[in-house]
């Protein structure tokens, strides 16, 4: 098999004396949808925070397409190709829906400050392309009718979708979704699964997602990693994970 898009080797982080994640090895290959599950406090979001360099890992390497990103900062990691959503939604509350997505394209369409000030053709053509791309993304998530609404006043489900749209706007190779279905009703979740598959196929990216909704995880993930107490408990196909005794024990207790 060719080199994985994301390769995590011996990743670990300590907070003071507490080891939150230890000895984690993971791989995400092109075009895959991977699930990262585990009981509350297992360290799933901490892994995401290390991948996007919100936290600095204490040990280990993170390779994105063979390039070591462990020394980069959050902005550089995004430029290298990782975008994410957040467990507790972090939208630009006071910006309109479409401006949230446009903000995601900050590095995709470039014009200088002079272009900005003098309203040159370069500014106009770039802004037109930004508008067009943003509308395309909003259409995918059925948010185009709400484009001028303030993001903070959107219903919960729409906010989650907008976060994904914003992350996609930065043209990632790897998309990290932190509990994308949280707070959604079954019908919305069903729709979300369709959208996630559609996004993977249209943008040809790989997706790593944290989720507690087992229906969603078992349905759309091709492989699943199970985290418990910061350590890898199991990995495998949905079928293998469903029947793994260690996993059942971790979730249900003894």
């Amino acid at each position: 098999m060719n080199t994985p898009v994301l390769q995590i080797k011996n990743l670990g982080i300590d907070f003071g004396g507490l080891t939150a994640v230890n000895n984690l090895n993971m791989e995400v290959h092109a075009h895959e949808i991977i699930g990262l599950i585990g009981p509350n406090g297992a360290g799933k979001t901490t892994v995401f925070n290390m991948l996007t360099k919100v936290y600095d890992p204490s040990r280990g390497t993170i390779l994105l397409n063979g390039q070591d990103i462990a020394k980069m900062d959050t902005v550089a990691v995004n430029k290298a190709g990782i975008a994410r959503t957040f467990q507790n939604i972090r939208l630009f509350q006071n910006l309109s829906v479409i401006d949230n997505v446009k903000a995601g394209m900050n590095n995709q369409f470039v014009y200088s400050i002079a272009d900005m000030l003098f309203h040159t053709r370069k500014r106009r053509s770039n802004e037109e392309m930004i508008e067009e791309e943003a509308l395309k993304l909003l259409k995918i998530f059925h948010l185009d009718d709400l484009k001028d609404t303030e993001a903070g006043s959107l219903p919960y489900g729409a906010q989650r979708k907008l976060e994904i749209a914003r992350a996609l706007a930065s043209e990632p190779k790897l998309l990290l979704l932190d509990e994308p279905a949280a707070g959604m009703n079954p019908q919305e979740t069903e729709e979300l699964m369709e959208t996630i598959r559609f996004v993977r196929d249209t943008f040809d990216i790989c997706i790593l997602l944290i989720e507690h909704d087992m229906n969603l995880v078992m349905n759309i993930c091709e492989r699943i990693y199970v985290l418990n107490y910061g350590m890898l408990l199991a990995k495998g196909s949905p079928e293998e994970i469903r029947n793994n005794e260690k996993v059942i024990k971790a979730y249900l207790g003894d």
């Binding site: 996007t52 919100v54 900062d73 959050t74 902005v75 995004n78 430029k79 975008a83 994410r84 957040f86 972090r90 939208l91 630009f92 509350q93 006071n94 910006l95 401006d99 949230n100 446009k102 903000a103 995601g104 394209m105 900050n106 590095n107 369409f109 014009y111 400050i113 900005m116 000030l117 309203h119 500014r123 770039n126 802004e127 930004i130 001028d148 914003r166 992350a167 706007a169 930065s170």
Partner: protein
């Protein structure tokens, strides 16, 4: 054609056009009144300073409202612009006799130097955030004022002479440009209402160009959520620096225009009170609200002057008005009824 009309009626562009209409409309009306009927000196003398304070408040709103950082030292940038303009205007008086060109060059150099000062200050300031940032901007505002208070600058046939301790410069029939705490005296008054109105229009154009661009979106994204902004590749420091420098350039222009409206000007004019005054205008008009800032500044600047006949009670009334409006402005109930009113209008409106 239809798309152009729709574009113009879009609520965002409507508020943009309203700002320009507000300024140009008031300018035309006031100019007309000045030429048709006799208007008291009290009123005409308020025009240029009012323009300056509008520009200052707009520039401060860029930092406080759009970038979300509290600056308490904006009078410092105004001071840099003001005294640079006085020096440039004084030095070039003989070379450039035309007051309009001289005003243009003075304001331009005032805003450039103020922008450079802003860039320099932004390096230590923007490493901080929140209250700490505000306190450091306050300190820098005071440093700039103190620095100018101690500059003695004169020029004669031998060229420029500068001293930081005494005003006993050996000038041979020369002219003092700055004399310490006394500031500038005998400055040529070359500002006028037209230039003030024009400068507001330019300020509006700059601010709207910025906030409607990718740079503006980055600034506002960094304000709303730092971590999320970084996660989509927005360089927080760069965005905040841009807002801070743009703001200091505009504040410098305001100071330059202000300085050239008076024959004498002391550095003490640009103290902490002026910074706070500008902040009051911004908060009163609404953070990130351009039209609100323009109206609030005008009302709050004119009000104390109109109340002058009430003498001792004037500041009391001014304070009470401030408190009442701030209370009303943050009232949830009032906001809700305004929202209802707005919805009723927009239902009838063309677009939504």
């Amino acid at each position: 054609m239809k798309t152009i009309i729709n574009e113009l009626l879009h609520h965002r562009n409507r508020s943009r056009m309203l700002s320009f209409a507000l300024i140009i409309g008031s300018y035309l009306i006031i100019e007309f009144l000045m030429h048709s009927i006799r208007i008291s000196r009290l009123f005409t003398s308020m025009l240029v300073p009012c323009c300056c304070y509008i520009i200052l408040a707009l520039s401060l709103n860029l930092v406080v409202g759009f970038s979300g950082e509290l600056s308490l030292g904006h009078a410092g940038f105004m001071a840099v612009g003001a005294f640079t303009a006085i020096i440039v205007s004084g030095l070039s008086a003989k070379m450039i006799p035309d007051p309009v060109i001289r005003l243009f060059i003075s304001v331009l150099s005032g805003s450039i130097l103020s922008g450079l000062t802003g860039l320099l200050i932004s390096v230590p300031v923007l490493k901080l955030s929140g209250d700490y940032l505000a306190i450091v901007t306050l300190a820098f505002g005071q440093i700039i004022k103190s620095l100018i208070t101690n500059i003695y600058l004169g020029f004669d046939s031998n060229g420029l002479q500068l001293s930081f301790v005494t005003n006993e410069l050996n000038l041979e029939q020369g002219k003092m440009l700055l004399s310490g705490p006394m500031g500038a005296t005998d400055t040529a008054k070359i500002s006028n209402f037209s230039s003030g109105a024009l400068l507001i229009v330019i300020t509006l154009f700059v601010i709207y160009s910025l906030i409607d661009s990718k740079y503006g979106r980055a600034i506002m994204a960094a304000r709303d959520d730092r971590i999320a902004a970084e996660s989509i590749g927005i360089d927080i420091l760069r965005s905040k620096t841009l807002a801070f420098v743009a703001s200091s350039i505009l504040a410098g222009a305001a100071g330059a225009l202000y300085a050239l409206n008076y024959s004498t000007l002391q550095p003490a004019k640009f103290d902490f009170n002026t910074s706070i005054l500008a902040l009051v205008y911004v908060v009163f008009g609404g953070l990130g609200n351009i039209n609100g800032t323009i109206i609030a500044t005008t009302v709050l600047y004119v009000l104390p002057e109109l109340l002058r006949s009430l003498q001792d009670y004037r500041m009391l009334i001014y304070a009470i008005v401030l408190i009442i409006v701030m209370q009303l402005g943050s009232s949830v109930r009032l906001k809700r009824s305004m929202e209802k009113l707005k919805n009723r209008f927009s239902k009838k409106g063309v677009i939504r």
